[in-house]
């Protein structure tokens, strides 16, 4: 595994970290999913989204929800997709082969929340592009507005 890339640092507000963990726990054993909008590298808003995939080992965000966010909601707020999150209810917080094969948003951070340790969920973040995994350093911080 490659070490975290020096140039990839993602500041995740503490409230959003908690929201992802809450979402993952509520959906388990299914995978939860959603996205975080932002301005440049600053997280602005978290959206819980619908996982249309069948079963417990895949996620596919409802494309209609992405359409509304990408072409209506986020342009209206001057934001863009900053991060896409999903959960791994029973596997580590590291991109699977499927995650890598289906990564079509190379400018976004892919956040993965693992519930392998139920009392200590782990969130890690990555850039996934051209078959390559690059880990980001996540700074868990208080909301900075």
């Amino acid at each position: 595994m490659e070490p975290a890339a020096d140039d990839l640092v993602f500041a995740l507000p503490a409230a959003m970290r908690q929201e992802i963990i809450d979402h993952a726990r509520q959906e388990s054993p299914r995978e939860c999913c959603g996205l975080i909008s932002g301005v440049k590298e600053h997280a602005r808003r978290l959206y819980r989204l619908t996982n249309l995939a069948v079963g417990n080992s895949l996620y596919e965000i409802d494309p209609r929800e992405i359409y509304e966010l990408e072409f209506r909601e986020m342009p209206n707020h001057g934001t863009e997709v900053l991060a896409i999150y999903h959960s791994h209810p029973a596997s580590p917080a590291y991109p699977s082969a499927t995650d890598l094969a289906l990564a079509f948003w190379p400018e976004a951070y892919y956040l993965i929340c693992s519930l392998v340790d139920p009392v200590a969920p782990e969130i890690r973040g990555f850039r996934l592009a051209e078959g390559r995994v690059r880990e980001a350093t996540i700074l868990f911080e208080e909301y900075c507005g």
Binding site: E31, C33, L35, A53, S57, L58, Y59, E60, I61, P63, R64, I66, Y67, E70, F71, P75, E80, V81, I84, H86, H88, P89, A90, S91, P95, S96, T98, D99, L100, L102, A103, F104, W105, P106, E107, Y110
Partner: protein, 96 residues
């Protein structure tokens, strides 16, 4: 060159590298397939992202016409009319 049948195409962030950063482009076509032909010709590299080598729209590419997913319309044969708004959404998907 677009005359009658002009269609507005919403380009998602990850595909804007093929449209010189433009979030919306104007193209044309009587069907989604024709529109994709024109987009592929006008924006090198974009066509391959949307359709596979057999010309089928990729499983993890979603295309909307005036807000309706073409998989709930007539797929690639869905008709287009002047002034329609077509949006392209690559999947956000994966697994464990």
């Amino acid at each position: 060159m677009v005359t009658d049948g002009a269609v507005h195409v919403l380009i998602p962030t990850p595909l804007r590298r093929f449209t010189a950063g433009e979030a919306k482009v104007v193209s044309a076509g009587a069907t989604v397939n024709e529109l994709l032909d024109n987009l592929g010709a006008g924006f090198p590299g974009l066509g391959e992202r949307l359709r596979d080598d057999d010309g089928q729209i990729r499983r993890f590419v979603n295309i909307f016409v005036n807000g309706s997913n073409i998989r709930e319309l007539q797929g690639a044969d869905s008709p287009l009319h002047a002034g329609d708004e077509v949006g392209i959404i690559p999947a956000m998907a994966g697994g464990r």
